[in-house]
Each structure stands twice: as structure tokens, then as C-alpha cells.
């Protein structure tokens, strides 16, 4: 159930510094993180369902950890409760992904002439 009070996020591995939102979150909403190593935190901004929220502060160039493994690197300082996605995390393999549109994922580097 979606309530304005609390919302759920899922942490897969106890080493993870991000959790996946099971429902959309709004700025200031309290988040109950279930799964491995449950914690509570507050959403620092609105975040869509199934997107990731930072569980701790993650400085620039530090690894983003999900499933207990490095899924990318922070491209700027991230604070706890912030949305983690293409704007502040990049892949160590697929360099194109951080050029995609933040919300739709659509490519912006292809010319339609």
C-alpha cells in the first residue's frame, strides 16, 4: 500500500549502499528498507518505483554496490536518500549509458537528420 507516511525499499545484500524502491517515493517520505539489513531513512527527493535510493552518503568516484557487487561508480557526491541513476552513476563497461536521457533512457547521441 502506498502511504504518504512510509514507503518500502528492498536491499538485496548487506553490503549494498543502494536499495530498490518497491513503490514511488516523495521528498521527505520515510522509507522502510526491508530485505538484507533493514534500516530506515528519508527520501531526499521524489523517486520512481523500482529505481534506486542511496542508503548512505556515497562520495564521487566511489563504487555503487547492489547485489554485493560494484554495479557502477558515482560521478558526483551522493547523499543518503537521493536517487541513484544515470545522472550520478556510470557503468564501467557501457560508456553510452550515462549519455542517455535520465527519465526515458532514450539515446541522445544519435543524429536524426
Amino acid at each position: 500500500m502506498n502511504s504518504l507516511e512510509t514507503n518500502k525499499a528492498f536491499r538485496i545484500d548487506s553490503h549494498d549502499n543502494v536499495a530498490t524502491l518497491l513503490e514511488p517515493a516523495y521528498t521527505g517520505q520515510r522509507l522502510v528498507v526491508v530485505g538484507a539489513l533493514p534500516v530506515n531513512l528519508t527520501a531526499a527527493e521524489s523517486i520512481e518505483a523500482w529505481h534506486k535510493v542511496a542508503l548512505t552518503a556515497i562520495p564521487a568516484n566511489q563504487p555503487i554496490i547492489k547485489y554485493g557487487i560494484v554495479i557502477g561508480v558515482a560521478t558526483r557526491d551522493i547523499t543518503a536518500g537521493q536517487w541513484v541513476h544515470l545522472h550520478n552513476c556510470h557503468s564501467c563497461f557501457d560508456e553510452r549509458s550515462s549519455t542517455l536521457d535520465l527519465h526515458s533512457g532514450a539515446p541522445q547521441d544519435t543524429t536524426y537528420a
Partner: protein, 404 residues
């Protein structure tokens, strides 16, 4: 960590090579698209008779190996090969190899038999004769150690990596610990996880195989300039290929990887195996590694999987011939919208109603029932999709012949 698996309660059909089937099927194999109507008409209204075939007229080593692996699958008791009469692929040679495995096998050309109606009548007569011989196949107790189970995912969403695939991963750990064989594939969806896979190599040989397969997959992605991740994945909350890969690889569980098998090969001993379906870079370039979900399932079945698992978040309505398919979703909406197609609801763990261990143990009981003969939902609905394509995994080295 995980719960021990409850013993299997069914019996298996003992084949001459020692493998045990969970079904006792007749298989009709056509050797060119021109023979496909006749093949399907032969199997029509014959509930124990499944059909596969190769559409091309020009033969292909990969496809022959795949057809033979499927025809000699433990769930298959007898086989009829049907050709038109002018194609490269030879039904007689297929039938001879299948007969060498101790299975009744027959073949004919439609051109020699006098057309559609005569061929259908002849085919039905032949499968009726072979079915009689299937009755005497010994039925023996079935254990998890006899089971080979393959898993792939498709139509994935964020729940696949959180609930669906991890549930299978926990089940695979328990299956391997019980002496069984687990197979996972989609190495192009393991990009970014080379170190994770290498760390899990059971032997130096396995490490070498994983390294080569992973290197080939990376080369493939670089050559086609594409990683197996799309705008829809990003919009759905995935940020990197590594993240998507880990969601897919979660289905492999945590046990050591025994080695890498190619399409049409069976794992030489129990444990967890990686199936590599990436094509060789050939004169037609790489080709497609996994053009659709059905192709991947056929690869897992060709490796000898008696039951195959399919994890889908968005939902899917495919099934498979030869080996029953069990469909698992981690998305509760999908489960409720498509309950007649979905065998297992893995979404409960996300609501905190159960644990992955408990869910994996429930899944194992469902798989046990299907192995004992209970039809899975796709089986009940009559789904028997198959897809066999041109691909190369046998390319001779560049030093040989005129490719120099």
C-alpha cells in the same frame, strides 16, 4: 543457508545411456520447412507426440548437433524423422544416429511416400508402432541427482533481479548440493561480471573456459556495439549493464561453476554449468546470440534439462516441446493478470511475507510435482514452441582451408 530439498516422489524413464526422463515422448523431426506441415499433421491429436524441425534446406553443423541432442533427450523415447526429399539435412542419417542410442527411430521422404495425405498416414502408423515399444521402457525411482534443470529469464523487469532470479538461485544451490545439475545461460547478460564468474570457477580448466566464453561475449558486444540493456530497462530503474547482468546471473545461485558447455552438449558431470550460446564470428559475422526466449530454452533442453525454468517479470506465454517449462514471476501484478500461464508467484518475498529460502523450497516442490508427471501450466495449455536457427559454434581455425 538453504533448506535441504524434499526427496522426489516420481519415477523416471530409464534410457540406455543411463539418463532418466520425466516424460516418455515420441518426437517428430522435420528436416526442412517444406516438411513442417506433414510433421505437425502427424503429431496432431497424438498427445504424447511433439514436433521440432529445422527450417533451412542447406544444412548446418550447429543445427544437426542441436537436432540430435533433442532427439536423444532423456524425455524422448522414440523419434520419426520426416524429410521432403531434396534438402541437405538427411533424415536417414539422423534416424540412424538416434537408433544407435537405443531408441526406436524411423524416417521417410515425403516425395517417396506420395505426398501429404499418404505421408501423414504413414507417419501416424510409424509412431503408433513405436509407441508400443515405449511401454516397455523401465520406470525407476527418480532423485534430484538424476535431474538436469536449466533456467533462463526473459521479459524481465526490476522484480526479476530482486525476486524471480534469486529464488531460482537458491533452488539451484540446493539442487547442486543434492547432487543434481543446474544450467544457466545468457553470458551476454553477464557483461561486467567477469571477475564474479571467474571467482566461482570450480577448477583451473573451468576458469579457462569461463574466461574464454566471457571474452567472446565481450568481443561480441563490442563488435555489434550493443550491450544487452535497452531504454526500457533504464526507464525501469536499471542504471548500468553490470546491474542488469547481476539480476540475470542471480539465477545461477552461489555454487562453483564446473565449466562451460556449448549448444547441443550435455554437462559431463553434475554441478552448476554455464551454457554459452554466443555464435562464432563466421563469414556471416556473429549472427544473433539469442534472438528470442524460445531459442534459449531449446539450448537448455538440448543440454539434457528434463525440466526448464523461465523467469519473467512482465509475463510471457511461451512453452516448450520435449521438456516441461515452469514459469516464474516476481511481479505480483503479472502473476494475477496471467495466472493461467504463470506456475509460480515469487513476489511474496518482496512484501516480506516469506524468505527466499522458503520460496525456493516451495518452488522445488512444484518442480518435483512436474517431474512426477503433473503438467506445468504451459504444458496444460498445449504450448510447444520451438526455434532452431542457423548459427556457428564450430568455426575452424583461420589457418585451415581457403579461409586463410
Amino acid at each position: 543457508m538453504h533448506k535441504q530439498l524434499t526427496s522426489l516422489h516420481g519415477t523416471g524413464y530409464l534410457r540406455p545411456d543411463g539418463r532418466k526422463g520425466v516424460r516418455n515422448l515420441v518426437l517428430v523431426v522435420y528436416t526442412v520447412q517444406c516438411a513442417s506441415h506433414v510433421a505437425h499433421a502427424i503429431a496432431d491429436h497424438e498427445p504424447d507426440t511433439h514436433v521440432i524441425g529445422f527450417p533451412g534446406c542447406y544444412d548446418n553443423q550447429y543445427a544437426i548437433r542441436l537436432l540430435l541432442a533433442l532427439a536423444r533427450h532423456p524425455n524422448v523415447g522414440a523419434c520419426l524423422c520426416v524429410g521432403l526429399g531434396c534438402e541437405y539435412t538427411q533424415p536417414q542419417r539422423l534416424a540412424e544416429k538416434i537408433a544407435e542410442s537405443g531408441r526406436p527411430a524411423e524416417w521417410f521422404f515425403i516425395q517417396d511416400t506420395g505426398g501429404t495425405a499418404n505421408s501423414i498416414a504413414k507417419g501416424k502408423r510409424l509412431i503408433a508402432q513405436m509407441r508400443e515399444r515405449l511401454r516397455s521402457v523401465p520406470q525407476v525411482p527418480l532423485a534430484w541427482a538424476d535431474m538436469v534443470i536449466g533456467c533462463e529469464c526473459g521479459g524481465s523487469d526490476a522484480t526479476s533481479g530482486l525476486a524471480g532470479n534469486p529464488t531460482v538461485g537458491h533452488f539451484f544451490d540446493a539442487l547442486v548440493d543434492a547432487g543434481g545439475t543446474a544450467i544457466f545461460e545468457e553470458i551476454v547478460e553477464a557483461i561486467g561480471l567477469g571477475d564474479q564468474l571467474l571467482k566461482r570457477a570450480a577448477t583451473p580448466q573451468a576458469r579457462q573456459e569461463i574466461d574464454a566464453a566471457y571474452g567472446k561475449a565481450v568481443a561480441y558486444c563490442q563488435a555489434v556495439r550493443q550491450y544487452s540493456v535497452s531504454p526500457g530497462n533504464f526507464a525501469g530503474g536499471l542504471t548500468t549493464i553490470e546491474e542488469k547482468s547481476m539480476g540475470a546471473i542471480a539465477k545461477s545461485g552461489s555454487r562453483p561453476i564446473q565449466g562451460v558447455i556449448k549448444v547441443g552438449q550435455a554437462p559431463p558431470h553434475p554441478g552448476l554449468w554455464l551454457l554459452n550460446s554466443v555464435p562464432d564470428e563466421h563469414f556471416m559475422q556473429f549472427g544473433y546470440t539469442n534472438p528470442n526466449d524460445t531459442e534459449g530454452l531449446m539450448d537448455l533442453i538440448a543440454a539434457g534439462s528434463q525440466v526448464v525454468l523461465f523467469v519473467t517479470g512482465r509475463g510471457s506465454v511461451i512453452g516448450s516441446p520435449i521438456a516441461p517449462l515452469v514459469k516464474i514471476t516476481g511481479n505480483s501484478q503479472t502473476y494475477h493478470k496471467m495466472e493461467q500461464d504463470m506456475d509460480f508467484d515469487a513476489s511474496r518475498v518482496l512484501r516480506g511475507e516469506t524468505t527466499l529460502e522458503e520460496q525456493a523450497s516451495e518452488l522445488s516442490r512444484l518442480i518435483g510435482d512436474v517431474a512426477a508427471g503433473e503438467p506445468s501450466k504451459p504444458e496444460r495449455l498445449g504450448h510447444r514452441e520451438y526455434f532452431i536457427m542457423y548459427k556457428h559454434q564450430d568455426t575452424p581455425s583461420l589457418e585451415q582451408g581457403c579461409r586463410q
